[in-house]
Point group: C2
Chain length 116, copies 2
Amino acid sequence: MGSQAETEGYLPLSESTFFILLSLATSPKHGYAIMKDVQQLSRGRLHLSTGTLYGALKRLLEGGWITQIEEKSLPPTKRMRRAYALTAQGESILLAEIARLWELLQAAEERGFAKD
Amino acid sequence: MGSQAETEGYLPLSESTFFILLSLATSPKHGYAIMKDVQQLSRGRLHLSTGTLYGALKRLLEGGWITQIEEKSLPPTKRMRRAYALTAQGESILLAEIARLWELLQAAEERGFAKD
DNA sequence: CCTTAATATGTCGTATGACGACATGTTTTT
DNA sequence: AAAAACATGTCGTCATACGACATATTAAGG
C-alpha cells in the first residue's frame, strides 16, 4: 500500500513536470541548471520557458514534491540561488508516472503498435 | 520526410487524446464505444467524461486527425450516431507520440530508473 | 405494455498549467 | 568596461480536462 495509493491522483504528469522531477532525481539543482539538464535529457526537444519552470517549481514546492535547500555559504543577495531537491513523495510520484508510461506503451502494443 | 516533421508540433498528446486515437486505430467507432473501449485499454484507470470526449472529438475533426463516417442506412434522427475513423494524419501523430513515450522511458533509464 | 437501464450525444463553467513576453539581477569571460 | 552567460521571477493568454447538466434513442425485464 503506501506510496502507490497516495500518488495515483496526481497522474498524469505534464511533460515539464516529468522532466523536472527526473532531473532532480539524480541530484539537487537550481532552476537554471534544471533548464539546461532538461534540454539534454529530452535530446533538445523540450525547452522549458522560465514561466513554465518557475511556475512548476512553485507548485512542486507547495505540494511537497520537492524541497528547497539552503545555501548559507553564499552571501545574501536580492536574487538568491535556490537549489531544489526531490522529496520521498516526489520520487514516489515519479515512479508511479514511469509505471503509467509503461502501461500506455503496453496498451499500444496490444493494439498492434509493436516496439519495433 | 514526411510525417514526422509535420507531427512534431502536436506533441505531447494528452492522455485522453492518446487513448482516443489508439482506440480508433483498431477500428472506427462512435463516441460511446470509444468511451467504453478507453476504459478497457486503460484497465479501468481512465474514465472519459462526455465533456472531455466530445470536446476532443470536435477538435480532432477540425484538425483532420479523424473523420466522420456516414451511416446512411439508419433513418435520420435528431441525435445521429456518428462514427469516427482515424486519418493517415492521425495515425502519423499517434506513431510520433508512441515514439515520444519511448524516449521518455529511455531518459528515465539513463537516470537509473530501470524497467521493472 | 411500460418502465428502467443502457446506449448515445451534446453544452457550459471552472480550474489547471504551458508558454511567450517582459523585467531584473549576478557572475564570468573577453 | 562590455558582453555573454547565468539566474530568478511575473503577467496575460490559450488550450484542455472534467464534472454537472441536459436530452434523445434503443434494448431488456417485469
